[in-house]
């Protein structure tokens, strides 16, 4: 299972802009490199990342082979309601990883 480091506040004031930071452990193998045996290593990258707040899409990202291993993303969201943050990564070979965080808005 992939490991992630998510930095998200547990609470925020209504109308506040909160910064969300995510780091995912992933090789992001570009598909252009050769291995020790001289054969091309098959591409294995994260294709999409999305974050939603109570089901509403906050950010959607497309990732490409030129992005380094262990991709780090930072984005912001407007705090309107308490609820759940859903982080989803999807990639090659059926890779899917999901994390959730709760946030209370006062």
């Amino acid at each position: 299972m992939a490991r992630t480091l998510i930095t998200a506040p547990s609470g925020a004031r209504r109308g506040e802009t909160v910064t969300l930071r995510v780091l995912l452990q992933h090789p992001m193998e570009s598909g252009y490199r050769v291995g020790a045996d001289g054969r091309l290593l098959p591409r294995d990258i994260v294709r999409r990342f999305s974050c939603s707040w109570n089901g509403e899409r906050v950010v959607a990202v497309e990732l490409f082979p030129a992005i380094a291993a262990n991709p780090y993303l930072e984005f912001s969201a407007l705090a309107l309601d308490s609820g759940t943050l859903d982080f989803v990564w999807e990639g090659d070979h059926g890779f899917q990883h999901r994390e959730q965080r709760t946030i209370s808005v006062t």
Partner: protein, 257 residues
């Protein structure tokens, strides 16, 4: 108001000076030779990819292995207390083996008692994660090589190796890291080669790696044939490097280009 602004500016100046100030004897961590973005990446745990291995090591620490289902945590308890300062003392002399060992070998021999398995040469993912987790517990503590006379012969051999010219380029470690530290080699800064942040996350590797892996890269850099994985020469060099960096704070997991 103005006085406040001045005080703040002065504090900010002092703060940045404290970070960049070399040790009294001129020894500086490799971090200080790095660019701003690499430094920022290391200093912020939310940004430092090495922390992913620390997290993995934390999971391995309490994961039961072997027939008895024992774990590191089962004997040692919480790593935060039990492993504090341990990484700063290695390499150390092992009485049972009658030779010096590094942190990796210490962890491996301990885990072999739980689950007899061949120790894989090189950077096995699980061993690396555990090493990163144990080293992380000593972050900020000074490197304190043990004052053990039995370590002296190996450390002396390490000192000789450090100053010995090797490879087709006929260069010793000291030719770059002492005579030309702070200058540049092909655009990259040459640090003083203090092993303060191992295991490190190298952007070039796109992953975490051990000091031995880094030393191998230097040896192939001077076009010498690297010693075999786990050869005694690596440990001798590590012993000398730890002694050379004594008193410098550990910063594992460090980030380097």
């Amino acid at each position: 108001m103005r006085a406040w602004a001045w005080a703040c500016a002065l504090l900010a100046l002092l703060g940045s000076a404290a970070v960049a100030e070399p040790l009294p004897d001129g020894r500086r961590s490799g971090l200080e030779f790095m660019g701003e973005s690499t430094q920022a990446m290391q200093r912020d745990d939310a940004l430092n990819p090495g922390m992913l291995w620390v997290l993995e090591g934390e999971a391995v620490w309490s994961q039961p292995v072997g027939a008895d289902g024992r774990s590191c945590a089962g004997c040692h308890g919480a790593a935060r207390q039990a492993m504090r300062g341990v990484a700063a003392r290695y390499p150390a002399f092992d009485t049972a083996l009658q030779r010096p060992i590094d942190l990796r070998q210490r962890i491996a021999s301990c885990r072999q008692k739980l689950q007899p398995q061949a120790i894989t040469p090189g950077d096995a993912p699980q061993a690396l994660a555990l090493e990163a987790y144990v080293a992380f517990q000593s972050r900020g503590l000074p490197i304190t090589p043990p004052a053990d006379p039995r370590l002296e012969p190996a450390r002396d051999r390490g000192r000789r190796l450090f100053h010995q010219r090797l490879g087709q380029l006929d260069l010793a470690c000291s030719d770059c890291h002492e005579a030309h530290a702070g200058r540049r080699l092909g655009g990259s800064p040459i640090p003083q080669a203090h092993p303060t942040g191992y295991p490190i996350y190298r952007l070039e590797w796109q992953g975490l790696g051990s000091l031995q892996r880094r030393l191998r890269a230097c040896l192939s850099g001077v076009r010498a044939e690297p010693f075999a994985w786990g050869a005694a020469e690596w440990l001798e060099l590590e012993l000398f490097l730890a002694w050379r960096a004594r008193g410098m704070p550990l910063e594992s997991p460090a980030v380097r280009p």
